[in-house]
Structures are given as structure tokens and as C-alpha cells.
Symmetry: C2
Subunit: 238 residues, 2 copies
């Protein structure tokens, strides 16, 4: 009897993986994942069988992971939290009687937040700007409502070659509800090799520097910058 672990490895740096995820990878004899994610955990998977595919191979990876898990201990790995824009949902949708365990990890907004300070300290939301599976009109509606509700907003998949203008349009929607000096962070490769971050504002953001390896965090009306740290106050009187 086999098993399938659906593992979020967190941001990618091996330091930010959980003990549970690490053990599940060790216990597995087959590792399945997107080529880039597999390379991030290379030191953990020496001498293990690997099944990797390129981007947009999600269905194929999941089908193969489920099939292999009938007679093997399989780890299906992705970055961030397997349950937030990760593989947990698709696996549960596709599975029949395979033995599946979901292991959460640190999602990208938490990782990016920690790099620039404490921007997510109050009510916050995660929105993906990818329109591969969500109509763009629905995405824009969510951005508008999140802006109106004064949520701290973390944008996943903020900009790709196929939709270079969405981020600019999202910022323009948010600016209808928040002032130009609200802080914005662009964090690229948060908590893994190549990490870079930029602090700017709704008024000064340069969308051109943002790519798919970035998370963009937009503060709420009370967020501010103090000595290069992005802080959203929880409300303590200090």
C-alpha cells in the first residue's frame, strides 16, 4: 500500500521548509514536481527517483503522482503552501481511493511579507492575477472589492509576458480607494536564492520591474514605512 504526500516546501530556501515536509520527502522513494521546484530541494533527494515536467504540466504531474502512489511512497512537491494556488486541490479533485496527505508550507505572501517587515499584520487577501483559469473581469472585481474593504492585498502571479498590463490596471483600480502614498512592496524570489525587494508606493510603483517570480504587496490605509520596514499596524496604542 503506497502513499502520496502533497507537500508545500515554502518559499524555496531549504531553511523555510517544515520538519514534517522534510521527513515526508525523506520517507518518499519517488519525487514528482515542476523541474524548477525539484532543483530547489536537490540536496534532499539524492538517489531518489524523480518525475518532473515543465510549466503547465499540472494535470500530467498529478495523474502520474496518483498512479505511482499506488505502490510507492510519493512526494508531490511545489513551492509555497500546497493548499494555496498549489497542487492539493487538483490532487483531491482527481483522486479516487489513493492514500493522500496534504502537508502545508509557508505561502508566498507570508515569505514576501517577512522580507520587507510586517505588511500583513491586519486583515489581508491573496489574489492571483493569472487569467489562465479565471476570467479577468472576476479578477478585477475582486481587486476593486478588496481595495474598497481596505484589505492588505498580496498579488500572486502579478505580471507575465502574456498580460503585461494587468498589474498596472490593478494598481489603478486600487488607487481609486487608497491614497498615492500607501506603501507597496515588490519582493522577487522571497527567502530563496536571488532574493530582491523594492519598497515604493501606489503612486511611484514601476510595474515594468515585476515578473512571475515576484509577489506584490499593497498596504492598507494605515500602513507606513519606518526605517525601510513596511508596517501595517494591528492597532496597539504604543
Amino acid at each position: 500500500m503506497g502513499k502520496l504526500y502533497v507537500i508545500g516546501i515554502g518559499p524555496g530556501g531549504l531553511d523555510h521548509i517544515t520538519v514534517k515536509a522534510m521527513r515526508a520527502i525523506e520517507e518518499s522513494n519517488i519525487i514528482v514536481g515542476y523541474t524548477k521546484y525539484i532543483s530547489m530541494i536537490k540536496p534532499l533527494i539524492e538517489n531518489k527517483e524523480v518525475f518532473s515536467t515543465g510549466m503547465r504540466g499540472e494535470e500530467e504531474r498529478c495523474r502520474e503522482a496518483l498512479r505511482l502512489s499506488r505502490n510507492n511512497i510519493v512526494a508531490l512537491v511545489s513551492t509555497g503552501d500546497s493548499g494555496i494556488y498549489g497542487m492539493a486541490g487538483l490532487i483531491l479533485e482527481m483522486k479516487s481511493d489513493e492514500n493522500v496527505e496534504i502537508i502545508p508550507g509557508i505561502t508566498a505572501s507570508s515569505a514576501a511579507g517577512s522580507v520587507v517587515g510586517a505588511p500583513l499584520m491586519h486583515d489581508n487577501c491573496n489574489i492571483s492575477l493569472s487569467d489562465l483559469m479565471t476570467p479577468y473581469e472576476d479578477i478585477k472585481k475582486r481587486i476593486k472589492l478588496a481595495a474598497e474593504g481596505d484589505f492588505v492585498i498580496s498579488l500572486y502571479n502579478p505580471r507575465s509576458k502574456g498580460r503585461p498590463h494587468y498589474l498596472r490596471e490593478a494598481i489603478d483600480i486600487i488607487k481609486k480607494y487608497r491614497s498615492d502614498n500607501v506603501p507597496v512592496a515588490i519582493v522577487r524570489h522571497a527567502l530563496r536564492d536571488g532574493e530582491e525587494s523594492i519598497l515604493c508606493t501606489l503612486g511611484t510603483i514601476d510595474c515594468e520591474v515585476v515578473d512571475m517570480f515576484s509577489i506584490v504587496i499593497i498596504g492598507n490605509s494605515k500602513s507606513y514605512i519606518k526605517e525601510d520596514k513596511f508596517i501595517t499596524p494591528r492597532g496597539y496604542k504604543i
Copy 2:
């Protein structure tokens, strides 16, 4: 020269702490935290000096942690992600020239989600129902807008003795925008000792069983239950 690590230990079970957080606790000679959190990491802190306070002692804990960090390696620990309703914000607000590092952890909604399936697979938000520092009208407005935007909604601090009706009122607001059969999960002590979970719907939720150790997750309009797992589809055609 001392140092202050502001550490999110994740849900509380030692398995779900990150390698980085574990190492920072090991490296520290003084541990600061709420008594209950300290007890969760007991095996990691034998022979270390501990400064703990009861609930609502946040400012005192932070002041003490900052003071001690001038000449010691200090770990200020809380559950979940230190950057989401945790101590990272208050520390950065209060700090002057102390040496502070924020270490993220798995936030409670990620932990709770993994227990019941994959409810957070699409755009989602975290809202705290605590009105200690946020006007209740603002909280209700956020719930309404999140409901209208079809966000998956995770409610933190969903119900306490001082405000027993807020959860019921939140559910009633959401029901104006979503049908009665939308799945709801109540997860108590997610991924730590005493874990329990209930799957119900917007129409059948029994708010009386919810307490401050619980997270309540409300699905979006496409969420469904399959064999006792709560799934929010990402949109793959399968």
C-alpha cells in the same frame, strides 16, 4: 551585540515548525512568549531562560523582548505566522536600534485548510472577528465585501465570550451573497494536540461549537465537498 528573532512557530505541533525557526530557538538564550505558546515548544527550550506573560500582555512582552535583546539572543515566539496577527508588527513599531529578524511560519488558515482538504486553492482572505482594536463596523464591511467578491474567507478569532454573536452575524452577511449549501469548515487546534474539525455549510453551521482556538473557513461559490474533503477548484478542466 544581541539579537531578537520574532518567530512564528506555525500551528503549534513541533512538526510544522520550519528549520529556520527551530535553529533560531536553539541559538537563543532567552525565550519570550505567551505562556500557552511557550508550553507548545517545551522540548526545544530546556535549560533556557523564559519570560512569559498571560493573554493581552503583548506590549509588555515586546518591550521586554526588545530590552533583553540588547545583550542576549532572544526568541519572541508566537503561533502561526509572526507577520499575520502576530508580534512582528508591534516589534517593528516599538523598536529603535535593536537587531531584529522576522521569521515567518505557517499561518492558521493554511494549517486549518490542510486538515479539511484544499479550501484555500483560489483567491482568499483572512479576517479577524476580534474587535479589541478594530471597530466592529469595519469588520462587518470587510466581510460583506469579501463575500461579494467571492473570496474564500478564513475567520480568525471567530468567537469569544465577550462577543458571542459576531460569528452568527458574519455568516448571515455572507449568506446574502452565497447559497446555503456552500461548504464551511470549523477547525479547532489545527495541526496540534486536540485537533478536531467539522464540515458543514452556510445553512447548517452551529456557531455555538466555535471558540477562540478555532478557525472558520467559508468556501467560495464553486467550493464543494468530495468524500469528506473540502475542495475549492482552481479551475483545471479534469
